[in-house]
Structure formats: structure tokens, C-alpha cells
Amino acid sequence: MATESNNPPLLDVRNLRVEFPTRRGTLVAVDDVSFDIAPGEVLGVVGESGAGKSLTGNAIIGLLEPPGRIAGGEIHLEGRRIDNLPYEEMRKIRGARIGAIFQDPLTSLNPLYSVGRQLVETIRTHLPLSAGEARTRALDLLKEVGIPGAESRLDHYPHQFSGGMRQRVVIALALCAGPRLIVADEPTTALDVSIQAQIIALLKRLCREHGTAVMLVTHDMGVIAETADRVAVMYAGRIAEIGPVRDVVKHARHPYTKGLMGSIPNLGVRTERLTQIDGAMPRLTEIPAGCAFNPRCAERGSRCLVERPDLMPAGADKAACWLHDRGGVGRPLAKETIDA
């Protein structure tokens, strides 16, 4: 796919910063995050929970939960700045230009309304259709997401669907006004493993057919490897590495990504042991100076303790690591002993 095309990006996120004021001081949950997504492209965003990936997604759709707020940076969609729009303007973009899919299909649907009603309601909010036309479109969408017996299912309530079928309904809801971008936040995490592949395949097929770009937020590297064109790895609120998915998987440049890849079982390779990264991601209150990953890093040097690396070219990727800077990491240091 066109990863580095000359087309203007569909979504352009520049130096995004998300803060949470708390009684013990302000937490910076997303710090200086920049990336873009081309039309029709699937960008995987991967990281541990608390790395800031879901918050980045929420910031893009303009639904950060208070007291969280965008404290800096810009978000552009189709060339238009959207991070500072009034609520009503942003509402018109949500659903129409940006769709969203959340983690748990069991709780994403209002239990008291039939799925047909929820579809029709969304369609008519964004498109100038009559009730009858909207219902026809809703029916087509249900068929498209592969719900058997769609005609009769239209008037069923969410609790009458299985988890996988509900997530299909959620996808239909996200797609129903023809958005250019879908922010999918852990769309398969709450589902059975056997269903997960189906849903991912469905999402991928639909987006290709509709030319819709996807920002796929997940902690599952396997899903990313199968689905994404490019991948961004987040750690402690920042992007550690970003690049085409093949390069990141095969030739990870950031020690954190290397560790992450090492923890995926690889059926092709026999003797290799699964590696794991010692320690845990720091809490937002305790992010160390310098590179946030330094206490867990096997390749760190004296420079990593004091200077924070920005994204820099590293092979085909970009990585935020001094290993790829001409100046290097400085005097090598042993890994911090972790008394966990």
C-alpha cells in the first residue's frame, strides 16, 4: 500500500499533548505525539495499557473525558484543523467523517433501543434521508457486515445478539454515514479468540471497499502484523517507533519494540526463547528523566538518563532512541536492577 505517498494526509496529528490535572499535580498522558494517516491506510497503534494510545484516539474524535484535555499540538482532518472546534462543529464531524469503534460491543449499544433504530438514528443525523430510505440503508449495512437474516434482525434488541454479532452491528454503526477515517479502539479485545479474526478480516475488507482509513489501537501485535500498513509503538505517552509494519516487525529499531517483538511466539522459528522485558512501564507520575524507557533498557548509556530522544530516522523507520543518533548513547550502563 501507499505508505509514503505524495498525497496530502487524511489525518495529521502534530505534537499532540494530553494532560490530566489531578490533585497531586498535572499528569502528561500523551506527550508530543506526531503522526499522519493517508487515505485508505491502516495505522496500527500498539502499546501497553496506559501508554496513551486510547487517549490519542479519544483526542482525535474529540471525546477526551474530563478532566483530561488537549494541552498542546494540532489535529488536522482533510486539511481542516479539528482539535479546537466548538462542540457542535465537532459533533457533525463525528460519525460523518470519523467513525469510532470501542472495545466492548456488549456495552457500546443502548440496551433499550433496537439496532435498527440506532442505525436509522445515526444515518438520519448525518444524511438527508427519509425514515424509509434510512431504514433501507440500515438493512444494507447489516447485510454488508454479515449479519444473517438481516431483515428480521433489524428490529431486534442488542441483548438478542451474540458478542461477535454485536461488534458487527457496532461496525455498521461506525460506517453508516460513510466516514473517511475509523478510530478502532481495541475492537477485538473483548471477543472470543475465534471471533477476533473474523472481525478483523471484516473490518479490513470493509475499509478497503469503502476506501476508509483506520487507526487501529490495540495491545495485540499479532492483530497489527496482520492488518496494518504502518505501525506506531507507544511507550509512556510518547511514540517510541513508527514505520511500515514489515520493517518494524522484522527489524525493530527501538529496544522497547525489540522486546515487544521478542514476546510474540513465532511458529516459524524453533529454538528461540520468548524474551520478556523486565519491569513495568512507569506510572505517569514517575516518568524518569531522559528516555522514559531507560530503566528497563539493556542498551542504555549515560546520555539516556539525561536527554530525551525525539523520533529520528532509523533504517526504514523512525525511532526515538539515541542508538540511531550520530552521538550514540554515551557511556554504556548496566540495566537498572529491578526489584519487582
Binding site: R91, K92, G95, L109, L112, T122, T125, L173, A177
Partner: protein, 330 residues
């Protein structure tokens, strides 16, 4: 669904029988019914004859059976205090209580729910904080004190509204109504506010906390992500999801209204069953107490049945599952 209603109906009958048993025990074993009915100089033989005639020597289960059969026909014997049939005493006074409770419920619902929605949607707005503070005061003021203060201000100082009684009433069959005369309507205002105030604050606080809870739900966030208008989200999605607990509490509180009418009726000298009950407690008028208890039990059961049926209208999950449980049970 039919099975569910049938089960509820059976439960209701069980509750009624329990209440009936309490009422019967009261009626039969608290104080001596014979003493209350005859004079001091009645001989032992006459007393014994009366005892036999009234069936007081029958085995207790048979007496209970007779009690229930009589109660079902509205026969509760004679009041110790006025020697009138208890059934008639209650029938005369029930319209006053029901009209008062109805007005109070309407007041509480139509003021309390909108206030709750508003404070739930804009919890940080200054007027929400004001409503919250006022509601806390409303919950802390005992009903009778609210009544007295209203009387002091509107009846004693401003002389705008009457402080006691129902005003002029019109008889429609056996039902006396205060809805059809100007003075009857005016007389309803202060007692209705007094009686409804507690329920109003309760409803407001309930709707508020339910709204706050629902607004955090995933489907609300998803509805926002779908770009629905605030109007559709707040009233279409959020408010409807708060309805089940609101219906539950409104149902329970309707019963409580009728019971709290005791206090309001005392403050405003309102000629309803509550006032009758208080007089019967003060005079140990056991037949009236027993009958009142059964009446309240019956009203509670009817209200609960109505509430159960309303759940089916509101919540589709109950319609298909056969309704194993109330969604937001207590």
C-alpha cells in the same frame, strides 16, 4: 412474560396474606375485643355467649379465614371509638387521602424529575449546586415542619391559603372530590406541597445520580462518537435508561406518600384515612388500625404490580427473558 406476571401475582397474594395475618393478630389478640364492645356490667355468661356468637372460640385458622373473607367484603367490625362500621369510616375518608396523595405525586414527579435531569446533565453549574443544596434541606426538614412553616407563611402571615380542611367538596356517587370547587383546589395546594416535598427531593437526587451514572456508560460515549445531537443523547438515550430505577422508586414512594399522608393530614386537619389512623392509635382503636394496615398493604401490592408491568414497557431485556429480575433491584 405471562409466567412472570402470574408469579408476581402469587407473590402479591402472599404479601397480602402476611399483612392480613399481622392485622388479624392485632385485631384478635391485642386487647380484648369483647371488653371493647360491651359495658362494665355485662355478666360473664353474656360475654361468653357473645364470644361464641362472634366465633372467638373457634380455632385460630378458622377465625383467620373468617377475618380474611370479611375483610375482602370490606367488613372490619365496629370502631371501638365511634361504634360505626370501620368499612364505612374508611370509605368516607379514602377520597380525601387519595386526592391529596395524587396531587403530591404529580407535584413531586413534574418538578423533581426535570430538576434531577438538569442537575445530572450540568452537575457543575451554579444552579445545579443550588438545587442540590435546597434538596438536602428538603430531605432534612421533617414533613410536619414543612407543613407548619407553610401554614405560618401562607395562612397566618399572608392569609392567602387555608390552613386546614378540604374546603368545599362535591359528591360524585360515594366519592367526595375537592377538585371541582375553587376552595377545594385552594385547600389542596399547601398539603400537596408538604406531602410531595420529600418525594420531590428524593426523586431529584435519584434522577441526578442515575443520570451521572448513565452519562458515563459506554453506549453514551458511543452515541457521542456517532455524532448524535446532545438532545438525542440526553433525552433519547440517557433519560430512558434512568427510567427503570426511577419507576421503582416512584412506585415505592407512592406507597410512602399514602403513609406519610398521616403526618400531613394531622398538620392540616385533612379528613383522610391517615388522620383516622392516628386517632385510632391514640385511642387503641384496634379494628381501625387493622383495617388501615390491610388497606395500605393492598395499595402497596397494587402499585408494585403496576410497576412490574411498566418495566416490560420500558426494558426490552425483560420482555424476552421472561423477566427474572428487576434490573436495578434494591
Amino acid at each position: 412474560m405471562l409466567a412472570f406476571i402470574l408469579r408476581r401475582l402469587l407473590q402479591s397474594i402472599a404479601v397480602l396474606l402476611t399483612v392480613g395475618l399481622v392485622a388479624f393478630s392485632l385485631f384478635r389478640y391485642v386487647g380484648d375485643p369483647i371488653n371493647a364492645m360491651v359495658g362494665q356490667d355485662t355478666s360473664m355468661e353474656d360475654r361468653e355467649a357473645l364470644r361464641e356468637k362472634l366465633g372467638l372460640n373457634d380455632p385460630a385458622p378458622i377465625q383467620f379465614f373468617h377475618f380474611i373473607v370479611n375483610a375482602a367484603q370490606g367488613k372490619f367490625g365496629l370502631s371501638y371509638r365511634t361504634s360505626e362500621p370501620v368499612g364505612r369510616l374508611i370509605a368516607e375518608r379514602i377520597p380525601a387521602t387519595l386526592e391529596l396523595s395524587f396531587c403530591a405525586a404529580v407535584f413531586a414527579l413534574f418538578v423533581g424529575v426535570p430538576m434531577g435531569v438538569y442537575t445530572g446533565l450540568y452537575p457543575r453549574h451554579w444552579s445545579s449546586r443550588l438545587f442540590q443544596a435546597v434538596s438536602l434541606i428538603g430531605i432534612s426538614l421533617p414533613t410536619f415542619l414543612i407543613g407548619i412553616l407553610l401554614i405560618l407563611v401562607f395562612a397566618v402571615w399572608l392569609r392567602l391559603l387555608p390552613s386546614f380542611g378540604r374546603g368545599d367538596t362535591v359528591m360524585i356517587g360515594w366519592w367526595s372530590t375537592g377538585f371541582l370547587t375553587w376552595s377545594g383546589l385552594k385547600a389542596l395546594i399547601l398539603p400537596s406541597i408538604t406531602l410531595g416535598m420529600f418525594q420531590l427531593t428524593l426523586l431529584m437526587r435519584l434522577v441526578r445520580s442515575e443520570m451521572l451514572e448513565v452519562m458515563r456508560a459506554d453506549y453514551i460515549k458511543f452515541a457521542r462518537a456517532r455524532g448524535l445531537t446532545n438532545r438525542a443523547i440526553n433525552f433519547g438515550h440517557a433519560l430512558k435508561n434512568t427510567l427503570v430505577p426511577v419507576i421503582t422508586v416512584t412506585g415505592l414512594q407512592l406507597g410512602a406518600l399514602i403513609a406519610f399522608a398521616i403526618v400531613t393530614e394531622t398538620v392540616f386537619a385533612w379528613p383522610g384515612v391517615g388522620q383516622l389512623f392516628i386517632q385510632s392509635v391514640q385511642f387503641s382503636d384496634v379494628p381501625v388500625m387493622a383495617a388501615y394496615l390491610l388497606l395500605i398493604g393492598l395499595l402497596f401490592v397494587l402499585i408494585n404490580l403496576a410497576v412490574d408491568l411498566l418495566y416490560f414497557v420500558v426494558d426490552p431485556r425483560l420482555r424476552s427473558q421472561g423477566g427474572s429480575a428487576r434490573v436495578a433491584g434494591h
